[in-house]
């Protein structure tokens, strides 16, 4: 059980970490790939950890198909973010930069291992903590991850057969 005091401490630490993250990374750290819609490697690692947990029960069961679906969803999230306003893009950039910092990952997300080694159980706990947080920052982080992930997956026709959605009709004269 995490006390309210712990939450507040995490919040203060979060604010400090945010400043540190900006300072460490600088305002214009070059991304690995500058094509529009391509996320930096930190954001990709975080999303590759979170998407399979958010989409548990919705993804294909076989490992290769599941892996491909997660890749497509992360890619779709990147495209979606690139279409958001610069203000919203900056907020998300800061969120991913914060979560990528190991001290913040451990203190705020409570994920012990680096994101690309995080267990599904740890990520599950992290998402529950964000969602139930008394801090608007973390609650809205959950909201953003929820909206981006479900929009990317259910916008993908590959998700439609499982939910019985036939897709839009053909327009023929």
């Amino acid at each position: 059980m995490i006390s309210r005091r712990t939450f507040i401490m995490a919040g203060l630490f979060g604010a400090a970490a945010l400043v540190t993250a900006r300072w460490l990374r600088g305002p214009d750290t070059p991304a690995g790939d500058s094509r529009p819609g391509t996320l930096d490697t930190d954001a990709q690692a975080i999303l590759h950890a979170m998407v399979p947990v958010l989409l548990a029960g919705a993804l294909p069961i076989e490992a290769p198909a599941k892996r491909a679906a997660v890749d497509e969803t992360v890619q779709g999230i990147g495209v979606a973010i690139a279409g958001l306003s610069p203000a919203a893009q900056e907020e998300l950039r800061q969120l991913f930069a914060l979560l990528a910092l190991p001290p913040a990952r451990v203190a705020i997300a409570r994920v012990k291992n680096p994101w690309n080694e995080a267990t599904e159980a740890d990520v599950r706990d992290c998402l529950d903590r964000f969602r139930g947080s008394s801090l608007t920052l973390l609650r809205s982080a959950y909201g953003a991850l929820h909206q981006l992930t479900f929009a990317a997956w259910y916008g993908n026709p590959g998700s439609w057969p499982r939910i019985g959605y036939p897709g839009p009709p053909e327009i023929a004269a």
Binding site: P36, V53, L54, L55, A56, G57, A58, G76, A80, A82, G83, L84, S85, P86, A87, A88, R124, L127, R131, T136, R139, S140, G143, A144, H146, Q147, T149, F150, A151, W153, Y154, G155, N156, S159, W160, R162, I163, G164, Y165, P168, P169, I171, A172, A173
Partner: protein, 538 residues
């Protein structure tokens, strides 16, 4: 628009552009663009579109500026993954400051009318009476507005829809009847509608009589100029007049401004960017605001949602999206008392549904697996009438873009709780097996008694209870008293003599109904007045 393909649907812009319509995509400008006109209109939605045609028909030269792209029936493929980023503000993910409310707002030629669900209501008499009583607004009685509504209803083919409602809407009618409250059919602005159900993603058959296929083509045919992908940044004021309009050309994706500028010099300037965009433009322009009211009292009809599973397929993605409503909880209580709400059914498409349903993982996946059996109701709160209901405030971010701060007050949550109870009751009465009031982690119930007890105990909070809006209203209200209104009863700015506001920002309160026809009718009247005052020279 994309070039012709093998669609059987004639695209009105394809023929129009071939005949010489003046349409400029500002994202393609190689150098700055300067235009002269009688009237410059910032925005091409319900307000800007209606005004453009009336002014062009009066022989005035008109330039319409639109931040979004021109997308037409050739482009409308009924896919959410394309429509939301292309046709909506902030990819349909625009949020209030605390992110508690998600706002669906159009951003494309035709504005919200290109993506709305065709629901057409005249401004409710109770709303007009309230404006007269509380804001001293004369000349806006039911009878005085009737000819303007009639004119726009004729222009936009607004008429009763005589096709049977889809199962999603029929459940609202059935449930309302079972619990003894009234419901009625919604009139729609369509002609030759195919009853497909994709109005929200751009009508692929041009059946919806949006601005995109009616007034904008009408204005272009009379020689108006349409500039797309331009964000109007500023009206340059000199003394008590606007001297120049300045806009930034946007990039092809519509995300960031390029270095190209668009300038329009006109006799009159119309702000018609919607109830978030218009106050923001006036704020950026430093328009006089001696009484500190600009951008205040911005209303949203904040909306809560209830999802149900029916025994049989509902297919709420198919068929005209909104055809039944109930005003029982607006009509049976004082307009300025506890907040009333309008009940409607929304269309369900996978992205809209999945992003609105709470929770994640297996629980979310199970609800989505029942997608074809899902029936959803929404309750739209009538904000702005109770003295406590002051709506939101439009502010500017550091980069000049607008941010709406809309606090959700106990007054709202009280209505939200009542509305969740009502919706669950209607859904069970209509035969639902399971009802999930959209809240927190999405607890679901198999009886109304169980749902009611749980709803009574819900802790309703911003960010915990999803709230949505598709209607932006207010922020630059009209009225005779400059202490309470930004523009006069003729739509002219109280302090700036050649500046007009012709969009949903005009409303002193929310409408209490889907607002498109209120905008059409009131702007038709105001634009006709402006056309007379600008009578063509020579």
């Amino acid at each position: 628009m994309t070039p012709a393909h093998n669609s059987p649907i004639p695209d009105p812009f394809e023929a129009g552009l071939a005949s010489g319509w003046k349409v400029i995509d500002a994202s393609l400008l190689a150098k700055d663009l300067t235009l002269d006109a009688d009237v410059a209109i910032a925005g091409s939605g319900a307000g800007g579109g209606t005004a453009a045609e009336i002014l062009a028909n009066a022989g005035l030269s008109v330039v319409v500026l639109e931040e979004g792209p021109l997308r037409t029936s050739n482009d409308f493929r009924m896919r959410e993954s394309e429509a939301y980023p292309e046709l909506y503000q902030e990819s349909a993910a625009r949020k209030t400051r605390d992110k508690a409310i998600n706002i669906l707002q159009g951003r494309c030629v035709g504005g919200g009318t290109t993506v709305n669900w065709t629901s057409s209501f005249r401004t409710p008499p109770a709303t007009l009476a309230f404006w007269q009583r509380e804001f001293g607004l004369a000349g806006y009685s039911v009878d005085e507005l009737a000819p303007w509504f009639a004119q726009m209803e004729a222009r936009l083919s607004i008429a009763p829809w005589d096709v049977a409602p889809n199962a999603n809407n029929e459940a609202l009618a059935r449930g309302a009847r079972m619990i003894g409250i009234s419901s009625a059919a919604i009139r729609r602005n369509v002609t030759g509608c195919w009853n497909i159900g994709y109005c929200g993603l751009g009508c692929p058959t041009n059946a919806k009589q949006s601005m995109l296929v009616t007034t904008i083509p009408g204005a272009l045919a009379k020689g108006a100029t349409l500039v797309t992908r331009v964000r109007v940044q500023r009206l340059v004021l000199e003394k008590d007049r606007v001297a120049l309009l300045e806009g930034d050309a946007m990039d092809a994706a519509g995300v960031a401004p390029t270095t190209r500028k668009v300038r329009v010099r006109a006799r009159a300037y119309i702000a018609a960017g919607g109830a978030i965009g218009t106050p923001a433009l006036l704020l950026r322009s430093g328009a006089p605001d001696p009484h500190g009211i600009l951008g205040k009292r911005t209303f949203l009809h904040p909306t809560v949602v209830s999802a149900a599973l029916m025994p049989d397929r509902v297919d709420a993605f198919a068929g005209a999206p909104q055809t039944i409503y109930s005003d029982h909880f607006l009509d049976t209580q004082p307009i300025d008392g506890p907040m009333g709400y309008k009940l409607e059914a929304p269309p369900l498409h996978p992205v809209l549904t999945a992003t609105t349903l709470p929770d994640d993982g297996d629980a979310h996946a199970q609800w989505m697996a029942a997608f074809p059996r899902m029936q959803v109701l929404i309750a739209l709160m009538r904000d702005g009438f109770n003295p406590e209901s002051q709506g939101g405030t439009v502010r500017l971010r550091d980069d000049g873009t607008p941010l709406l701060d809309y606090p959700l007050l106990p007054l709202f949550w009280d209505a939200a709780r009542r509305a969740m109870r009502t919706m669950a009751q209607i859904q069970f009465a209509a035969g639902a097996q399971t009802v999930m009031p959209v809240h927190a982690r999405g607890a679901a119930f198999t009886s109304f008694a169980g749902a009611r007890a749980a709803i009574d105990a819900f802790v309703l909070e911003p960010g915990v209870t999803p709230v949505v809006s598709a209607h932006v209203m207010g922020g630059a209200p009209l009225g005779p008293n400059p202490k309470r209104a930004v523009v006069t009863s003729t739509g002219r700015h109280h302090q700036v003599e050649n500046l007009y506001v012709f969009d949903g920002s005009l409303f002193p309160t929310s409408i209490g109904a889907n607002p498109q026809l209120s905008i059409y009718g009131i702007v038709a009247r105001l634009a006709t007045g402006l056309a007379q005052s600008l009578a063509p020279r020579g």
